[in-house]
Amino acid sequence: MLTLTLLGLLLLVALGLAAPFLRPHRLAPRLVHGLTGAMALALGVAAAIRLLAGGDVSELDLPFGLPWTGVHFRLDDLSCFFMAAINIASPMVMVFADGYARRQAEPARALAPLPVFLAACNLVLLANDAFVFLLAWELMSVATWLLVLANHRDAESRNAAFVYLAMASLSLLLLLLAFGAVAGGDGDFRFSAMREATERPALATVAVLLAMLGCGVKAGLVPLHIWLPLAHPAAPSHVSALLSGVMVKIALYGLARILFDLVGPPVWWWGVTLVVAGALSALLGILYALMQRDLKRLLAYSTIENVGLVVFALGLSLSFRANELFDLSALALAAALAHVLNHAFFKSLLFCGAGVIHEATHERDIEKLGGLVRRMPYTSLFMLMGALAAAGLPPLNGFVSEWLILQAVFASSSLQDNLPRLIVPLTGAALALTAALAAAGFVRAFGIAFLGRPRSEAAAKAVEPTGSMLTGLALLAGSCLVLGVFPVIGLKLAESAAHGVVGVDLPAGAIGWLFVSPLGSGGAAYAGFFVFLAILGMALGVRAFLGRIWPERRRRAAAWDCGFPDPNPATQYTASGYSQPLRRVFATSVFQARETVDMPPPGDARPAHLEVRLVDPAWNWGAEPVRRAIEAVTLRLNALQFLSIRRYLSLMFAALVTLLLIVAAGQQ
């Protein structure tokens, strides 16, 4: 299986390399998307089957690569799970892309990097030594950079791609150092050697912190997330879907791989750090999403929120593990993994939907949309399902994993260390707030964009897409529903992977076809199918009841609207108005939100304007000072370019003597 997988990845890379030559052909996009999707589907289904069948860990060492090391691959339960999670949603995105990409200005630009991107992501999952891991990681970064650059004529895209590339390089650097710290003085970069080390490496603290930062940059954890809300809106929508659904997941995989597998038994603060960082990301991410008017930016911030949830659950699992509560550790890990899977589906759905809306209206600003539910009924239905899933409402898939994460929080009272016992419930409360804010945020996004009356000409003339775009949305939405109604499908996969990592099963009967009761038979239980039936039954019942009260046919009449005969769509509730209370409560301090009202003097007929300014603290207090410092240092170092030969030699000499002195001092 491992060999076949590697051959498949090689085929994907070959497809990517061949794509530029296929470009002139009319069917090239269809061919590339189709083949990439088929290959991903094959990989994903094979991985899922292997995971459920409980296959053995397979390893493969190939004799090329760096001298004396070779390259090492390994397929175990964790990598199988992530392979299934990223590869099953992406074919559906490819179906969507088949219709979507050809409407782009330059569809061919995203063709070549696409299969390479997918191959690199899968290769990260298969790596069994630090070199392969980092090489694949970097290949993934570069391919993503090219994908983000697909609209390269747009200055915003170029800027986003540059910020992304800079952050990706930072991530690579941090991970490189992290692996160096794990490998220790012997410099054995094989994962198997790190795994077999009996004691924790001497630099484990450094390694863990670097790994958290390095993977956090890629995953979009909050102080390091700055590239994410830039890159997602700049990229074409199918690429945004892959960024959220695939690449961010790979970063989470890297975090899980290093922390759970490579650095040895955990210390209590590892988990707590992740718990705090995750809760912070979730809360700030969704708060920021609530303030956005750009639909794709909103979704990007929602990705930050979901990454926060997953990281929170990973941290919880580590905390349980540090206390040797392996059952609960498995539960929290399974919850995290299930959320990875679910998020891949619903976020891909939402991004693809945003792409559909953008194609139909050329608008990403939700204040300019509205009334789409009448013009695009199917798209609206699918987007509603995606929004419900993202808001964490039953019977969709987002609910199941968020509920499991909260169940794990409730179990945290069995932790022995005092600090985690204190922090986990507090952050758990932040998660509850996050869930509520997410619901508000997606009500806002869906309500403003789809309900009411059109706020612009473009929205009034929007047309439902046909063909593969709609099929892609339908597939993704259907998956969300199936995974929500029968959570056992996703949870079995997650449980198998958690079993592979922690070595413990969830309690017997925890995950059944009808009931999910993660804490065993005595604990809370969720029956997705019955909830679905109940919701369906209630909806049909209400409809029947209303039909009985008002038996006449529905009639459409002019709105009363305070007696004005020709109501302007601008009188509707706006997105900014909807989020204003939350903005005043939360965002005034965190994001320094400032509202300025530009009111024309009496007699002036121009409309009044409300302007809201938001600041992302990560930019202002994190990225900006760093950028300025780098600029100052480089300006100063510029002088080094114009030295005389003698001075260059002196620099070399000084470096040599310094190193020799260090060696000499080390010997004493």
Binding site: A639, F642, S644, I645, R646, L649, S650, F653, L656, V657, L660, L661, V663, A664, Q667
Partner: protein, 221 residues
């Protein structure tokens, strides 16, 4: 008995090389620098020849011959000739005073000794001390290059550095490619010398002082 003599003689040669390195360092006249360099090269040739005899490694004779002919005789003559032909100012233009340079040289020897002796505890005594001396010679050659402004002196510094490398290479038993290395370095140095001559920096800039080249390039700040 033989080993003591081998030890003493190779030390004598190595110490001479090092001593000549210091002599290069404190010379104030170019011709003196050349003579000191010639002395150093001859000492390296002697060291190589003695190692060839005591290690019973005939290929080292080639190294010795190269050091003797090219660096001991040909290079100083060529340098003298260049100085005369190009009518170069015959004082050494120093960037750092002679006194501090000498002190720095002594410091480098201490550093080299401190470094090499503990690292090579397990190896034979012969190798250890030769290596310490060779590293000192390399560092002092480097020091010559950075504390002298004149291009000619920098070339001499480079050649003296290379002498240190050859000394290290011949001192280690069974070191491969010693001969090839010395041939390659000699060729490199020959090209540098030819380069100085053929480019006739003197004609264009009136001096071999590198500062003039910099001001011509407009890079002087």
């Amino acid at each position: 008995m033989f080993s003591t003599i081998a030890y003493d003689l190779s030390h004598l040669a190595g110490a001479t090389v090092l001593l000549a390195g210091f002599v290069v360092l404190y010379q104030r006249r170019l011709l003196g620098v050349f003579r000191a360099f010639a002395l150093q090269s001859l000492a390296v040739a002697a060291a190589a020849a003695w190692q060839a005899y005591s290690q019973d490694a005939p290929h080292l004779y080639v190294t010795a011959a190269i050091a003797f002919l090219l660096k001991g005789i040909a290079a100083p003559i060529a340098l003298n000739w260049i100085v005369r032909r190009l009518d170069i100012h015959r004082t050494v233009e120093t960037a750092v005073g002679i006194g501090p340079t000498m002190l720095a040289g002594v410091g480098l020897v201490v550093l080299a000794t401190l470094l090499v002796l503990p690292v090579t505890v397990s190896s034979a005594a012969l190798t250890r001390e030769t290596l310490a001396i060779a590293l000192s010679v390399v560092l002092i050659g480097f020091l010559v290059m950075i504390t002298r402004r004149n291009a000619i002196t920098q070339v001499v510094g480079f050649m003296s550095l290379e002498n240190g490398l050859v000394l290290a290479a011949v001192g280690v038993k069974g070191m491969p490619l010693v001969v090839e290395m010395s041939v390659a370095f000699s060729l490199l140095i020959a090209f540098i010398l030819f380069g100085i001559f053929f480019f006739r920096i003197r004609e264009r800039f009136d001096t071999l002082d590198l500062q003039s080249i910099e001001s011509f390039r407009g890079e002087r700040r």
